[in-house]
């Protein structure tokens, strides 16, 4: 096993860091307060090729390997988890789904525009009664000649507010179907943007489909194969969320370490207090412990391997560690950690979102449990 980043990856890492520091960091606090959607940051990211991060050059993508892509998300998340989440929803959920399952025409139509950032992608899967139970879809896709009529409500559509293209999973006659629906399609209504605890610079919208007609050719993948498209997308996104958690946690450790080294109480910097050292050591260990599952999951994607359980494992671990580490690091910063003038409070709130965004911890745990029992000839019910 070679644990080193190759030269190219190291170079990218520097580049990503520069971008994050120059373009994202200065805006992060204000964007969170105003619940801005970083549109100009996304534009600049597009100029760097980030919005087509893993897409081939043929579609104007940057052709990054998945490990580099994950490093990008981690680096962006250090400054703003929202940017990472918005980017990941665009790339992992939509762009790569089109790459994997799209017809040539679909790829030509959408991927270059997505790489350029002209069209932002959003996946619409979750529904009011289909949260963890994502298979309980009530949105219907009813064939009508050479069209399909979509009816239903989708919630928690990441990027909904700014998306030009929606990947919608609905219940068709043969099972779940996935459709690529442009924003301006009649009958598609982008609704309420959810005000959230954290990730306040990502849009989570409700989407209404009222007799929304799309061509049969808008289907992505085969009939009834909606989850063949959506499940791998979901897995990629889980890895991306784990990477986001990693960036959040790592950055919070650095913030707290800086604070602890400067803050003098009882005559010494609190870094000299053993309890604080314990906290910092534990946090460091947890962050390190998260790196391997995240990068390995990304590497498996690069190898073309199934990444279902590794993705769940990374996400399960990542959400927990992001939560725990940001919580502890906030404690190290005391009252200052609680003030919104400092970045820690925002990291804490953002980290908490990861317990649900990207699939709840409990759902990932179930999938992992199934894997644990896989060799035992038993079917584990959810």
């Amino acid at each position: 096993m070679d644990f080193a980043l190759n030269e190219e990856q190291r170079m990218f890492l520097t580049m990503f860091g520069d971008f994050a520091t120059k373009e994202v960091a200065p805006q992060a606090e204000e964007a969170d307060h105003q619940e801005d959607l970083y549109e100009d940051v996304l534009r600049k990211a597009a100029e760097q090729g980030f919005l087509g991060a893993t897409l081939p050059d043929a579609y104007d993508g940057a052709e990054l390997d998945h490990v580099s892509y994950v490093l990008l998300l981690e680096t962006l998340a250090r400054e703003s988890a929202s940017v990472a989440v918005a980017l990941a929803a665009h790339v992992s959920l939509v762009a790569m789904s089109i790459l994997e399952h799209g017809s040539d025409e679909q790829k030509e139509t959408w991927l270059p525009a997505m790489s350029a950032g002209e069209v932002i992608g959003a996946l619409a899967l979750t529904e009011p009664d289909a949260g963890s139970d994502s298979a309980a879809l009530q949105t219907r896709a009813t064939p009508d000649g050479d069209e399909v009529v979509l009816d239903g409500v989708k919630t928690w559509v990441t990027n909904g507010e700014i998306a030009g293209l929606f990947l919608i999973v609905a219940q068709g006659p043969d099972g779940a179907d996935a459709f690529l629906v442009p924003r301006d399609t009649p009958g598609l209504i982008v609704g309420y943007r959810e005000p959230t605890l954290g990730l306040r610079s990502v849009a989570f919208n409700t989407l209404y489909l009222e007799k929304c007609r799309v061509a049969q050719t808008a289907r992505l993948g085969g009939a009834g194969e909606g989850f063949v498209v959506a499940q791998p997308a979901w897995d990629r996104f889980a890895v991306a969320m784990a990477a986001t958690g990693l960036g959040l946690a790592a950055a919070s450790v650095d913030l707290a370490a800086q604070f602890a080294a400067e803050r003098v109480q009882f005559g010494v910097p609190i870094a000299q207090k053993q309890a604080i050292q314990q906290y910092m050591a534990e946090a460091f260990v947890q962050v390190e412990g998260l790196r391997y599952p995240v990068y390995r999951a990304a590497w498996l994607i690069d190898q073309g391997k199934d990444v279902d359980v590794p993705a769940s494992a990374a996400k399960h671990l990542g959400a927990g560690i992001a939560r725990g580490v940001t919580n502890r690091m906030l404690q190290v910063m005391g009252g200052y950690g609680y003030m919104e003038d400092y970045p820690m409070a925002r990291k804490y709130r953002d980290a908490r979102m990861l317990g649900v965004v990207g699939g709840s911890t409990e759902m990932h745990a179930h999938r992992i449990a199934c894997e644990v029992f896989a060799g035992q000839d038993i079917e584990i019910a959810p």
Partner: protein
């Protein structure tokens, strides 16, 4: 051992619960959004005498004891942490320190209107370089004739932006430090030289005032020295213990409420064809939280009883605060997780409770300080003196 509450405490709890439901709940999300103190709530609580719940009736208080105060904090804690913070700073440290160490004249002049809710109190200790290390304060008080002149400032003062009476800790003898060099002064906020500089922008408890205060040649008459000159810390430490217990009670209320939210949702929300309550992972979460809440309840009311019996309670009060804040955090985190996406939405009160709960592990002495207090007490009994 009789674990039942006295009839007056049962009646008190019922009244406060009704009040909380009718008057506090409707404002909880609004004050968070608007970042304002619910003055109307403080006024109503004052009118009912609840802002003097634990003080003797001879001073305008309700005479319901520490148990009564715990009940007030628990019932309010169920619905709004900003309100318990405002109330706790007023009763528990603001007015309490005057009750514990004021002379008769000071109690008549200050404690009575505070107990009746006619005026609001705060306590001014924390400074930029003196948080956990409270002894490192620098605000100076210099004697001048029959007054003291105060110069300096305070930060993170709850109620600081609107209190009428603030007990300020200042250094009267820099050479002596905490032991003998710090004095408590009762300051009226409309005096010249007192200024509210700014309000903090906090992640939670946004319905509270967390103010930065500036004192510039603030003249305080000699009669307003609280307790003896140089013994400010003694007064402060006593009231701090009381405050820790009742913060534990507020956390108990919050934890209980979180548990109830979680149970309600788990019993209603259907996924995979059945209510979440049928999932063992959910059952385990609920059982764990419920057990901790019961343990906390026993701890808080036992310590409340000890206070009313006049027994020493420093170490146990610290445990109430330490354990209470952590139980409340775990409880609200569990409730949040069980509610899935709904728990993350600002249209639903749970994420507010989540942001609000976080402060409990930090203020009124961080949980690190609480652990130091507990460990110090334990080791002192064996003759080992620990320095923080």
């Amino acid at each position: 051992m009789d674990f039942t509450f006295a009839p007056e405490h049962v009646a008190l709890r019922r009244m406060i619960r009704e009040f909380a439901q009718a008057e506090v709940v409707p404002l909880a999300m609004e004050i968070d959004r608007e970042h304002r103190v619910p003055q109307e709530t403080m006024r109503k609580l004052g009118e009912m005498g609840l802002l003097g719940v634990c003080f003797p009736q001879e001073y305008g208080g309700m005479g319901a004891g520490e148990i009564g105060y715990c009940i007030l904090m628990e019932e309010l804690g169920r619905v709004c942490t900003s309100t318990t913070t405002n109330v706790g700073a007023h009763i528990g440290i603001g007015a309490m320190v005057i009750y514990l160490d004021g002379n008769e004249e000071q109690k008549k002049r200050y404690l009575t209107p505070l107990a009746r809710g006619e005026k609001i109190a705060a306590f001014g200790l924390t400074e930029p370089n003196a948080g956990s290390d409270a002894a490192a304060i620098r605000t100076r008080a210099v004697r001048e004739g029959d007054s003291w002149i105060l110069d300096g400032g305070k930060v993170f003062i709850t109620n600081g932006g609107y209190a009428d009476i603030i007990t300020v800790m200042a250094v009267t003898d820099p050479a002596l430090g905490a032991r003998g060099g710090v004095t408590a002064f009762i300051v009226e906020t409309d005096w010249e030289g007192f200024q509210v500089a700014r309000e903090e922008d906090k992640m939670g408890i946004r319905g509270t005032s967390t103010a930065e205060l500036v004192f510039e040649e603030l003249r305080v008459p000699q009669e307003n020295v609280l307790g003896k000159v140089g013994e400010g810390f003694v007064s402060f430490m006593k009231s701090l213990d009381m405050g820790r217990l009742t913060l534990g009670a507020a956390c108990l209320g919050g934890a209980q409420a979180s548990l109830e939210w979680a149970v309600r949702w788990a019993g209603t929300r259907k996924q995979f064809g059945a209510e979440l309550a049928h999932k063992q992972s959910i059952q385990w979460m609920i059982a764990n939280v419920a057990t901790e809440v019961e343990a906390l309840r026993s701890l808080v009311y036992r310590v409340g009883w000890m206070v009313d019996m006049g027994q020493p309670f420093t170490q146990l009060a610290a445990m109430c605060k330490l354990y209470g804040s952590e139980v409340a955090s775990r409880a609200v985190d569990t409730a949040l997780q069980i509610h899935g996406g709904l728990g993350l939405s600002r249209d639903f009160p749970l994420e507010l409770a989540f942001r609000d709960a976080r402060i409990a592990e930090i203020f009124e002495g961080t949980n690190e300080v609480q652990r130091i207090v507990i460990a110090s007490n334990i080791f002192r009994e064996r003759g080992v003196r620990i320095r923080p």
